[in-house]
Symmetry: C2
Subunit: 233 residues, 2 copies
DNA sequence: CCAAAAGTGTTCGCAATACACCCATGT
DNA sequence: ACATGGGTGTATTGCGAACACTTTTGG
């Protein structure tokens, strides 16, 4: 609407998600410059000509937070007029899933980088952060995509280390879906889908309250649940 | 790689799908100008600043083919370098589903507009058309999206007129999934998902070979199959 | 011994499948 | 009459929900 000549610009943004403390967290940066200087936002930035979109997203993520990811999945494009107050901008949102809250380090045009519980980022209830641009909507769409994708097992292993117990895998579902699942039936469901997970030799040590040590598993060659697991409710 | 300074341009493309003769068809235009002049391609074009992406897609569709649609769904963004030989371009692909082969009329920078069976557009077998840009990939992704979405009933009604018989609805599934479905079980499945379809008063007339006239239905208030229908195979 | 978590067994009910059968219409 | 497609009935089967029960650890 101002300062813009002709065509929209192209940016990429990254919704990096990870689990901690039984809660989904999203990686945010505090903006150093206008617009929305001081506000929290998704890491992202302009795409260079000749650059693949997912490469641009990975580059921006690394530049602004120091976090490196092996792969990014495209989520959607957001291009509503007015989403950027300065010029017409289309952003291609990407999704990254990490097994832990990989140490963020602010750099580039970000004043800070931090993992934030998605409930807080989206301001359910009182403490709303008021993310820059339409980033709250993008984060919401990303979480919805992960929740839906878990039905056939997608994203589950991205949120876990290479080997994990079935309790940890179940914890992913319970954290994202916000429902408790029956451990016995979950176990049968997961093990019944051949090629989804395979047992490893070693077992995890018991927790502080005891309990039988659990076997460790890793993702199988066909990391999809078939038939899918339906979300209760 | 030539003529481009700095940032990629933004375009929209439309995959318009409709059923005819028990086959999915896609609406293509023959390009009048370079690049790919003379080749068949998806309708689409540049996005103006201040324009919503879906609006731009609807505008380009109407300008190039004369076809108007009530709504477009975003599919994905395609931005690989080299997908446009002249300059770096990111396109946001959109999906439209129509109840019939709405009369196409070439205009604007399209030399012709035509509905083409997707099997032909994608060149399975011999007669490959060689769509411009990466449009073959985009069409393939769109068809895959529709096939997957049918599991919970999405897209089914977009490919049908406001009222339809259950045989017509089943025909949508059989055409897209390329499998025969048991009419009896299909009927029970569809009617058992409350709010998916509702019966109307009138019945269709029998076909040329006779048969009991079928009741007409329309989409219900909750046009989703729950639980979803699984694709055989 | 007790609590807690892993892992197994069992029952019940629903939903998908396969297929037989009846109904209404055109030729 | 017969072919054709709409529509109903029914036996079987597999899976998911619920929950009791056993096993193995820490305190």
């Amino acid at each position: 609407v101002t300062g813009d000549r002709g065509r929209p610009a192209v940016t990429v943004d990254v919704v990096a998600l990870a689990l901690a403390d039984r809660q989904l967290h999203v990686l945010l940066v505090q903006r150093r410059y206008e617009p929305f200087a001081g506000s929290w936002a998704l890491p992202g930035g302009f795409v260079d000509a000749g650059e693949r979109l997912d490469e641009a997203a990975a580059r921006e993520l690394e530049e602004e937070t120091g976090v490196e990811v092996p792969a990014l999945e495209q989520l959607a494009a957001y291009g509503d007029p007015g989403r950027d107050p300065r010029r017409s901008t289309v952003t291609i949102a990407h999704l990254a899933t990490l097994p832990e809250l990989a140490g963020p380090a602010a750099a580039d045009d970000a004043a800070a980088a931090e993992w934030v519980p998605v409930t807080r980022a989206l301001g359910k209830g009182r403490a709303r952060m008021g993310l820059a641009f339409d980033h709250a909507r993008i984060v919401g769409d990303a979480v919805a995509r992960v929740a839906a994708g878990l039905e056939d097992g997608r994203y589950a292993f991205g949120l876990l280390p290479p080997t994990f117990t079935l309790a940890a895998l179940r914890g992913v579902y319970e954290a994202v879906w916000q429902v408790p699942l029956d451990p016995a039936n979950f176990r049968r469901k997961v093990l019944g889908s051949r090629g989804f997970v395979v047992a490893t030799a070693d077992v995890a040590s018991s927790g502080p309250d005891g309990g039988k040590p659990a076997r460790r598993y890793r993702a199988g060659r066909t990391p999809r649940l078939d038939p899918p697991m339906r979300r209760p409710g």
